[in-house]
Amino acid sequence: MGIEGIGARVARKEDKRFLTGKGRYTDDMVVPGMKYAFFIRSPHAYAKLISIDANAALEMPGVIAVLDGKQLQADGIGNLICGWMIHSKDGSPMNMGPWRPLAVDTVRYVGDAVAVVIADTLGEARDAAEAVAVEYETLDAVTEAVDALKPGAPQVHDNAPGNLIFDWALGNPEAEVDAAISASAHVTEIEIHNNRLSPNPMEPRAALGIYDSAEDHYTCYTTSQNPHVARLVMSAFYNVAPENKLRVIAPDVGGGFGSKIYIYPEEIVCLWASKKTGVPVKWTADRTEAFMTDAHGRDHISKVKMAFDADHRITALKVDTIANLGAYMSLFSSAVPTYLYATLLSGQYAIPAINANVRTVYTNTVPVDAYRGAGRPEATYLLERTMETAARELGLSPAELRRINFIRSFPYQTPVIMNYDAGDYEASLNAAMDAADWAGFAARRTEAEGRGKKRGIGMSCYIEACGIAPSAAVGSLGAGVGLWESAEMRGNAGGTIEGVAGSPSHGQGHQTTFAPLVADPLRRGLDHGPIAPTATPQGHKGMGDPGSRSGAVGMSAIVKALDKVEAKAKKIAAHLMEADESDIVIEGGELKVAGTDKSLPWFQVALAAYTAHNLPAGMEPGLKEGAFYDPANFTFPAGCYICEVEIDPETGTTKIVQFVAADDFGNIINPMIVEGQVHGGIAQGVGQALLEGVHYDKDTGQLLTASFMDYAMPRADDLPSFKLSHQNTPCPSNPLGIKGCGEAGAIGSPPALMDALPHAIGPNHLTTPAPPPEGGEELNAPPRGGRPRMRPIIIARPPSARRPACLPAERRRNTSPAA
């Protein structure tokens, strides 16, 4: 039992089923009579939908139905919504355009669904879809946010003039910040493009809708990070069915990274189509559909001014950001470039005055919402690129400029809402520099020069806000939901403990991380059955796992429920041992009367709770308790990342020679799982900086990166092994002292890498306030011989659209059946 303690590297309980092929994902589900859905999607970025003629398709083999948006609307299914209200500076509410699960009169991006074919097999549904005649009248499209704001740009929604969704500001008044900047000794100005990404969990989205006409009841299996919210929203807003007639099940979920938080048209349509046709309906995205319909992330353009006094202290920061939200407002899209972004613009630094202005914009592209980090990577990238540029301009080392400006006492109130509760930024900076042997870099550079290579080293000091809550705070900022968590724990009559946590898991290993809360010998030392993360949100509640909140918020709810179970057990034990309740302690699986030799094993007390033969007067039988937990504050993980690169001037290729992460995550339950989260996050951050990028054709609005042949995902040989360390300061805002670790890697890594590049090859375009060029041609020349191991980059917008479509033979090493 001791090996399951808090802080131990416990192997995962989930692994055996995944390793032996016994995982159960949504697409693995088969139910009797199940049929297949294939969605007909707009090939145009922007068009009027004139007509849909399904007559020929309906005659084809296996076809059961072809359903469209008019039928869906006639059945009263509602529009998709954004659940976070943002008001513009002038007080007006955000301009939310209608998003219908199936388009009725207009399509607004390539991939917008217009109809669905239901057939016996997927092949038949796909064949029939080819025979559905859809007539469109195409319109001029706009894909880039800056273009969408220009006069005369195509209007994506009638109720959003100039494509502006809102024009919002946070922090000190603009005039005050402008005055501080004018009075400063030095101003660093840059323009930052945070490129658009596709989250790409390896499991594509899927939904299985099952309507039971005998019970008038719906069941939805779906790839969700957020099954409770899916049930709530599909019931309350989309009118699929009342909550008591709708069961939502998220079985094993193969990654999400944010993209599976939201409720998409497909699960709504599968449920509705199941009732309409009388058969269970399953849909599984293919990878191109995933690129075309999963919410994208990032896509910000920002202008930054950071002002310094003569002692190199930051005096003011001014940020003007344009965020592309795509064709429709996804569920939390409005919160990402506002309260998850601008609130982190103080970073790890004491900045007396900050003004952030954010304009969000409609374009004819896939909706944009939270992707791993959600707003915080954008804030960190902006700040850390600015700090790097400023250090170079001021002639200081990057570490020195940061040290001068670190926040050093807590709590610290920033000018942008957040109140940091704990941290030690210099500890992480020092640890990272030691681990990276920063002092030895000059010698390594010289050695590399001898081999004709250019070396650079860069750092990034990030902070993020996790454990997203408290409910009252987010409610006051416009959230449509509360952000507590819940848990239900049960002491069984035989002595084990089991329970259900509100937090769902989509691959993080919650079942393993939650267990020590019961089993840790120093806490309770009790046997436990499974503490299941939510798969089926019936009978208990939760708000999903976004924002690294399953530890800080979800586990706190488990602790609270366990405390209640324990308190009741103590009452029973005191009664049985004729002792005072306050003298009962739990140690090593026993309830003891402190200072005596009297004790009862846990199972006897648990059994007594259920036999109910001898309970304190008036006590209900049983040992089951539930709890809701609503935290007092966000949590603030922080750290320092260092990346060292070697660039081959001959080929332009960049090799990451070392990557160091030094993080403060507060207390850690299972270091093995935490490290895994950081590894994966760094890989995604390196992907953003070096490889990945969603690209649209500007003229036609066609998505150019819609497969893994066009969109470069990080592979094993693009990455090094990582060096990790922790400098933890416990979080004072929750009972476990946890801060959260799920997103840090993706937040901290891109600027560290992008700071290393100019250090290797000299200042790049980011030192000037010009838009990113297509770039750095001298170093972006195609490699001479051999395949490019890594995209040559010296640009802010990774060129994945230009990655060779035909990959070299090595890419297909284990693909050839004929070999």
């Binding site: 192997a11 995962r12 989930e14 692994d15 055996k16 089923r17 995944f18 390793l19 032996t20 092929g21 016994k22 995982g23 159960r24 994902y25 697409d27 693995d28 088969v30 097999t121 092949g123 790409n200 969990p201 390896m202 499991e203 094993d252 193969g254 990654g255 990274f257 990878r287 989509h506 691959g507 993080q508 290993g509 799982i673 490290e675 895994g676 590894h679 994966g680 996050g681 760094i682 890989a683 995604q684 497969s707 893994f708 042949m709 995902m713 990080p714 592979r715 094993a716 040989d717 990455l719 092994s721 990582f722 090595e810 890419r811 297909r812 090493r813 284990n814 693909t815 050839s816 059946p817």
Partner: protein, 162 residues
């Protein structure tokens, strides 16, 4: 329609399918072995890697009818009668998986990699050999660690046996 007969995880099995059916869909839908996954449409991700006549193959890159008559091993049959194959066990010990979706394909590719290289695997070779598998969760760090550990263990047992 075509009839496909295979020796699957040591057992002879057959089924009918459309001529156009890919092996991966035959495995998942006709054989009911859902441990083999589909993660892309372009033979890039490797979630569907199986062993066909002892070699690792992306089962999305071959028609089921082309595989007829072959011997197929999927993730479900990798351990044979045992609990877990040493590569599966190493992935658990070294946290070489998170969401588990790419895992079956990565494990099947890893077993083939170890078989082909004997004991001579190093980190660079493993990373290069993993080029046909995409994992979005782990950053590959622990996958590489697990494969090297399994390779060391399997080499040691081979030597002990010799």
């Amino acid at each position: 329609m075509a009839k496909v007969t295979l020796t699957v995880n040591g057992r002879k099995m057959s089924g009918d399918c459309e001529d156009r059916t890919l092996l991966v869909h035959f495995i998942r839908e006709k054989l009911g072995l859902t441990g083999t996954h589909v993660g892309c449409d372009t033979s890039q991700c490797g979630a569907c890697v199986v062993h066909l006549d002892g070699k690792s193959v992306k089962s999305c890159s071959i028609l089921a009818v082309q595989a007829s008559g072959s011997t197929l091993t999927t993730i479900e049959g990798l351990a044979g009668q045992g609990d877990m194959h040493p590569v599966q066990a190493a992935f658990k010990t070294h946290h070489g998986l998170q969401c588990g979706f790419c895992t079956p394909g990565v494990v099947m590719a890893a077993v083939d990699m170890i078989n082909r290289h004997g004991g001579a695997l190093d980190e660079e070779t493993v990373r290069s050999e993993l080029d046909g598998n995409i994992c979005r969760c782990t950053g590959y760090h622990n996958i590489v660690k697990a494969i090297l550990a399994a390779n060391a263990e399997m080499s040691a047992s081979r030597q002990a046996a010799e």
